[in-house]
């Protein structure tokens, strides 16, 4: 159970989030949307315990994120960053295996069970054939899938993903979204820019606008032409259940 309670963040004098409150529905996929720079990543970092909000807090199972020891939090919540760091020499397999860290004792070797989980997660994300590759040998999309595999290997009830599909081609976008759909026992919070992809695969929507929460509810009810115009300043209309942008090409 993930609850956001009046989360406020300012950087220098600029207010990024001005009090976000929401009960995120468990076992569903919630899209976090809004224009660039509206605080989506900041919100996710607060929930993930990577940034301490100036006010308010995020709670998992009724307990503030800041109160969890790092190890316990890592058993509750996994985070896929938008730009993974790649300047290391670990193979994809070793990288995903790191996701098992919260379950291991310090001087213990990884068990067969850990290896099985890693193999399963890598097969699910289509990265098993890359297991011996280092980051330098992988494309951006492959690396992104390895990072998702690592988050899955953490076996957490909550999964935070910051633009996980922005670097992927359409086939891999669909594959990842389908994969997230199959993880029915996870509370997934995903920052996503593609409105139609969100419409197709996400259940709920947190729509951010000027530091506040404009809409929280079922995704179809939130991505209306009015909201899209208000938030993005773009005209759009619905046709056959899809969002069509009214875009006039220059002559």
């Amino acid at each position: 159970m993930l609850t956001l309670r009046n989360i406020q963040v300012s950087f220098a004098d600029r207010r990024i989030l001005g009090g976000i409150s929401a009960d995120v529905a468990p076992d569903r996929i919630t899209a976090v949307m809004g224009p660039n720079g509206c605080g989506k990543t900041t919100l996710l970092r607060c929930i993930g315990g990577l940034l301490e909000p100036d006010g308010g807090e995020a709670l998992i199972d009724g307990r503030p994120v800041a109160d969890y020891p790092a190890r316990q939090l890592a058993q509750k919540l996994a985070f896929v960053r938008q730009h993974p760091q790649t300047d290391f020499e670990f193979s994809a397999f070793e990288t995903v295996l790191m996701g098992r860290n919260p379950y291991q004792h310090r001087l213990q070797n990884e068990s067969q069970a850990d290896w099985d989980i890693v193999e399963r997660c890598m097969r699910q994300t289509g990265t098993w054939h890359l297991r011996l590759s280092t980051p330098a040998q992988m494309s951006g999309g492959e690396l992104q899938r390895v990072m998702i595999a690592r988050a899955l290997a953490q076996e957490t009830p909550v999964l935070l993903l910051d633009e996980p599909v922005s670097n992927l081609d359409i086939a891999h976008q669909l594959e990842i979204m389908r994969l997230l759909r199959q993880a029915t026992d996870k509370t997934v919070l995903i920052v996503i820019h593609d409105l139609n992809l969100a419409l197709q695969f996400c259940d709920d929507l947190l729509l951010l606008h000027q530091g506040g929460l404009l809409y929280h509810g079922p995704v179809a009810g939130g991505l209306t032409p009015e909201n899209i115009r208000l938030v993005y300043g773009v005209k759009a209309h619905m046709a056959e259940g899809r969002i069509i942008f009214d875009y006039q090409a220059r002559p």
Partner: protein, 324 residues
């Protein structure tokens, strides 16, 4: 299959390297300004009072520098960091220079003690400058260290120009040598080395996570700030004790972990223990060469580690490149 290989240290490799190290120590005891046979070793005061503590010190310092280098390269996520990057060596050199100028050489551990105090004060100063609240920004830490190192080197040059008659003694101290190592040094170094290396080994897995980035490490359950603090404390103490008893032995801490990585991969659960043993062996061999090559005079071990190590490492890099 490589992907499912063991990730912690291979006990056979550890055992083989340990045996090799012990054999090298035994052999090294026989050679020096005076050579010994096995039979007269234990009756010779030269062996008991000079040779044996010197051999032990070179092993301890080699192990400490290599382990600290491996740890720093992971903490700072920077392959160019070596154990002296935080200004420990420059602080120690300034302390030693001051002690030499004040004529403290005649006191037991006069120079070493001053060097130790100055080294610790320098690092403390750097930490104070680089920490914001209770968080440490590693890039700022690194830059502050480099800056302060340059400042202190300039100070030392200044001191030397003003006291040219003591220039030789100061320069010789900074070059690094085990020539004056005695049991006193061993008793001070050994507990710090054992404890410090133990701490780094304990945090081997966390060092791996730090290599993946601070935030990634945190979201995978590593208490990043605490781990960094404990590791920096342990490594700083080790390097400060090492540098204050034998001066600056360059190159070892930078290169040994890299050489180990080329052969054993990036996992710090292997890199740290293998570096410890290889670094000890490397400095031991270099010090043995330093006191035998041009005997009865001695070469500074610091220059020898670079002269032997650099070509060796370039060869490894070259071979690695070919095999890719």
């Amino acid at each position: 299959m490589k992907s499912t290989a063991r990730h912690s240290a291979n006990p056979w490799v550890v055992a083989a390297l340990t045996l090799l190290l012990l054999a090298a120590m035994a052999a090294s005891c026989l050679f020096g300004a005076v050579d010994f046979g096995w039979s007269d070793l234990w009756h010779s005061p030269i062996f008991l009072q000079l040779r044996l503590p010197r051999v032990i010190m070179s092993v301890l310092v080699g192990a400490v520098l290599s382990v600290c280098g491996a740890a720093y390269q992971s903490i700072f996520r920077n392959p160019l960091t070596d154990p002296y990057v935080l200004g420990v060596s420059s602080g120690a050199s300034l302390g030693a220079a001051a002690a030499i100028l004040l004529g403290l050489e005649t006191f037991l551990w006069g120079v070493g003690g001053m060097a130790l105090v100055a080294a610790l004060l320098t690092v403390l100063l750097i930490y104070r400058i680089a920490s914001i609240g209770n968080r440490m920004h590693t890039t700022t830490l690194l830059l502050t260290g480099v800056c302060l190192t340059l400042l202190i080197s300039a100070l030392i040059s200044f001191l030397m120009v003003l006291n040219q008659e003591k220039m030789d003694a100061i320069i010789f101290w900074t070059m690094g040598s085990f020539g004056s190592s005695g049991w006193m040094d061993v008793w001070m170094m050994a507990p710090v080395a054992v404890l410090g290396i133990g701490v780094v080994l304990w945090y081997g897995r966390d060092l791996n996570l730090l290599l993946a980035g601070s935030e990634a490490a945190k979201s995978m359950g590593c208490e990043v700030e605490k781990v960094k603090r404990v590791l920096l404390l342990a490594t700083t103490l080790m390097v400060a004790f090492a540098v204050s008893s034998c001066g600056v032995v360059g190159f070892v801490g930078l290169i040994v972990p890299h050489a180990v990585r080329l052969v054993a991969g990036p996992d710090n659960r292997r890199v740290v223990p293998y570096s410890m043993l290889c670094g000890a062996l490397f400095v031991l061999v270099c010090d043995t060469l330093a006191r035998t090559l041009l005997r009865p005079s001695e070469l500074p071990v610091g220059s020898l580690t670079s002269m032997v190590g650099a070509p060796l490492f370039i060869y490894l890099l070259y071979k690695h490149k070919r095999s890719c």
